[in-house]
C-alpha cells in the first residue's frame, strides 16, 4: 500500500491483516454454524441409521447372541399388536381432547381478559407457574389431589354429596385425570400466546370496522381470527407436538394403567425397549413415530409458512 500521511491513527489499519483473520472472515458463516449443525446432525443421523438397522433385525438383550435379520417382520408385527393399537388410540384421543380444551379455554380467557382487565401483569406472573415448574412436580401435585383415600378431589365429591372415585385408578376416569392435569399445566401457554397476539393487533382496522358498522361478532371473525392465525398456528403446532410425546404425567400418575387405559406411544416404546428389552421392535415403532411426527410438523410448518 502506498505511503500514508503522518497521522498516527492512519498508520495502523493499512495492509490486509493476518492470513488467519482473512481465512476466518471468509469462512465465518460456516464456522459459526458448524458446531450446531454437526451436533444436530449427530443427534439425528446416528439414531436414524441405528434404528433403520435395528428395526429390520431381532436384537436380543444378550449381547452375545448375534442379531438375526427379520426384514420387515418388526413392522408387520405392528399391524397385529393390540397393545400398540391401544397406545396409538390413547395418544390420539389425549392429543385431540387436551389440545382442543386448552385452545378453547386459553383463547376464551385471553379474549375476555384482553377486553376487560387492563392490569394483567400480576395474573401473567401467577400463570407462569403451572407450565414452568418441572412436569414431574406437576404430576406429583395431581397425584396428591387425585389420591383416593385422603385426596382433595374426593373430599370435594363428599361435600357435593357424590360418591368418591378411584380417579387415576379407575379405567373409565384415568384418561380424564391425565387430560385434566395437562389442561391445568398448559392452558396458560395458549392463554399467554393469544394475549400477546391480541396485544399486537393494530387498532385502525377495528376503528374502520366500527365506522363501517360491523358487529363485535363480525369483527372477531373478519379481523381477529385472520390476524391471530399465525400465532394460533404456532401455539397449536407446539402443543400438538408436545401432547403426542406425552410421558411424564402418565409415568407418575398411572404408569399407563389401569388395564392400559392411559398407555401412550411414548410409554409403550419405553416399555418395549427397557422392560421387554425388544430393541428391534422398539426401533421399528420409533421409526414410524419419528416419520409420522416429523412429517406432520413439516407439513404443518410449510402450510402455515411458519419458518420464513
Amino acid at each position: 500500500m502506498r505511503e500514508r500521511m503522518a497521522d498516527p491513527i492512519l498508520t495502523v489499519p493499512t495492509g490486509s491483516g493476518t492470513a488467519f483473520e482473512r481465512w476466518r472472515e471468509r469462512h465465518l458463516r460456516i464456522l459459526m454454524l458448524a458446531p450446531t449443525l454437526l451436533l444436530l446432525a449427530g443427534l439425528t443421523l446416528f439414531p436414524t441409521v441405528y434404528m433403520l438397522t435395528a428395526a429390520v433385525q431381532n436384537v436380543s438383550p444378550d449381547p452375545d447372541v448375534p442379531r438375526e435379520f427379520v426384514g420387515l417382520g418388526n413392522f408387520a408385527r405392528m399391524l397385529t399388536d393390540p397393545e400398540l393399537h391401544v397406545a396409538v388410540r390413547n395418544t390420539v384421543v389425549f392429543t385431540v381432547v387436551a389440545v382442543t380444551l386448552e385452545f378453547l379455554l386459553g383463547l376464551g380467557l385471553a379474549l375476555l381478559f384482553d377486553k376487560y382487565i387492563r392490569r394483567l401483569n400480576f395474573l401473567k406472573t401467577i400463570l407462569l407457574v403451572p407450565m414452568m415448574i418441572p412436569p414431574i412436580a406437576v404430576a406429583l401435585t395431581w397425584k396428591l389431589i387425585y389420591q383416593p383415600q385422603f385426596g382433595v378431589l374426593n373430599e370435594l365429591m363428599f361435600r357435593l354429596g357424590l360418591p368418591s372415585q378411584a380417579w387415576a385408578g379407575d379405567v373409565n376416569l384415568a384418561m380424564a385425570t391425565i387430560i385434566a392435569a395437562d389442561v391445568w399445566e398448559w392452558t396458560p401457554f395458549i392463554f399467554l400466546l393469544m394475549l400477546a397476539g391480541l396485544a399486537s393487533l393494530p387498532s385502525e382496522p377495528y376503528e374502520a370496522a366500527q365506522v363501517d358498522g360491523a358487529s363485535a361478532w363480525r369483527q372477531f371473525w373478519d379481523l381477529t381470527v385472520p390476524f391471530l392465525k399465525p400465532v394460533i398456528a404456532i401455539a397449536l403446532l407446539l402443543r400438538i407436538m408436545d401432547a403426542l410425546r406425552l410421558f411424564d404425567l402418565v409415568f407418575i400418575l398411572t404408569v399407563g394403567g389401569p388395564a392400559g387405559a392411559t398407555e401412550t406411544l411414548s410409554l409403550y416404546i419405553f416399555k418395549v425397549a427397557f422392560t421387554f428389552v425388544d430393541i428391534g421392535y422398539a426401533a421399528a415403532i420409533s421409526l414410524v413415530v419419528l416419520f409420522a411426527t416429523v412429517g406432520f410438523s413439516t407439513w404443518f410448518i410449510k402450510r402455515m409458512r411458519l419458518a420464513d
Binding site: T36, L40, K115, V152, R245, L265
Partner: protein, 285 residues
C-alpha cells in the same frame, strides 16, 4: 336500536363476569401449588387427615430434613444444577453463533430457510424415538450414568431452541450497527463480539434462563441415561420414590416443591421474554 344506557349495563355485566372468571382461574391455578407446598410442611398425620387440613397445621421441616439429609436428594439437586448449567453454557455458545449466522449472512437461494427449518425440525423429533440409539451410543463409550452424557444429549436437544431464539433477537437488531463497526475498523467477528453480543444481552440472558429451565425440568432422557445416585437428576430421583409401593408423601412433596422454587424465581426474571421463549421466538410478546 340499543340505547347507550343498555350498552353500558351490558359492559358492566361483562366486566363483572370477567373478574369472576379471573378469580376462578387464579384459584384453580394456584391451589395445586399451594397444596404441594403446604403438604411438604405438614406432619404425616395432617397429610393423611380426612377431611384434609386446609390451613391450620403446625409446620415442620421434618420432610426436608429426611429428603435432603436422610435421602440423597441434595446430590440429585446438585447433579441437576451442574447438568443444567453446563448444558446452558455449551448450547448458548453454539446456538448464539448459529443464530447470528442465520440472522445476518447472505445465503444462496433458499438456504437460509432450509437450514433454519432443518434445525427446527430436529426439535420436532420426539425424545422417545432417540433414546434407544442414545442409550446404545453412550453405553458404547461407557458414558451411561455420567453427567457428561446427559449434558451432551441436553445440549443437542436445547440447540434448536437456543438457535431460533437468538436468531430472532439478532434479527431485531439493526444490521447497520455491526456494519458501522466494520467500516470503523473491526472485523465481522469483532463486530459480533463487541457490538452484536452486548446489544443482544437481554435476549442472551432470557435464552440462558429458558435453557436452564428446560434442562432442569427434563425427565425422560435423564430417566434413561442416569440410574445411579452419582448422576441422577432431581426429577428422576423424585419419580423413583413416587412409584414405590409406600410413598413418602411428605418427602417427595418437599423435593418437588424445592425443585419448583428456583424455576418459579427464574420464570419471574424472564417474564417479559416468556411468550417469545415459549414460541421459539416466533411470537414476540
Amino acid at each position: 336500536m340499543a340505547t347507550r344506557a343498555w350498552h353500558r349495563t351490558r359492559e358492566a355485566i361483562f366486566r363483572m363476569l370477567a373478574y369472576a372468571v379471573m378469580a376462578i382461574a387464579l384459584f384453580i391455578t394456584t391451589f395445586p401449588v399451594y397444596w404441594l407446598a403446604t403438604n411438604s410442611f405438614k406432619l404425616d398425620i395432617d397429610i393423611f387427615a380426612v377431611p384434609p387440613v386446609w390451613f391450620e397445621f403446625s409446620p415442620t421441616l421434618k420432610h426436608y430434613e429426611a429428603a435432603f439429609i436422610g435421602q440423597p436428594f441434595l446430590i440429585y439437586a446438585l447433579n441437576s444444577l451442574i447438568i443444567a448449567v453446563a448444558t446452558t453454557i455449551v448450547s448458548l455458545i453454539f446456538g448464539t453463533m448459529a443464530g447470528y449466522a442465520l440472522a445476518r449472512f447472505h445465503y444462496p437461494g433458499r438456504w437460509r430457510y432450509q437450514i433454519s427449518f432443518w434445525i427446527l425440525s430436529t426439535r420436532m423429533m420426539p425424545p422417545i424415538v432417540t433414546i434407544i440409539p442414545l442409550f446404545i451410543f453412550f453405553n458404547f463409550f461407557n458414558l451411561l450414568n455420567t453427567r457428561l452424557a446427559v449434558v451432551v444429549a441436553y445440549t443437542a436437544f436445547n440447540l434448536p431452541f437456543v438457535t431460533w431464539m437468538m436468531k430472532s433477537y439478532f434479527q431485531d437488531l439493526p444490521p447497520e450497527l455491526e456494519e458501522a463497526a466494520m467500516v470503523d475498523g473491526d472485523t465481522r467477528w469483532g463486530a459480533f463480539v463487541r457490538v452484536a453480543l452486548p446489544l443482544a444481552r437481554p435476549g442472551i440472558v432470557a435464552t440462558a434462563i429458558f435453557s436452564l429451565i428446560l434442562a432442569w425440568n427434563e425427565f425422560l432422557l435423564a430417566l434413561i441415561l442416569t440410574q445411579t445416585d452419582r448422576s441422577m437428576t432431581l426429577p428422576v430421583g423424585i419419580s423413583g420414590r413416587v412409584t414405590q409401593y409406600t410413598t413418602h408423601w411428605g418427602e417427595i412433596s418437599a423435593a418437588g416443591f424445592l425443585a419448583s422454587l428456583p424455576i418459579i424465581i427464574f420464570a419471574l426474571i424472564v417474564q417479559r421474554h416468556l411468550v417469545r421463549g415459549m414460541s421459539f421466538g416466533a411470537v414476540k410478546g
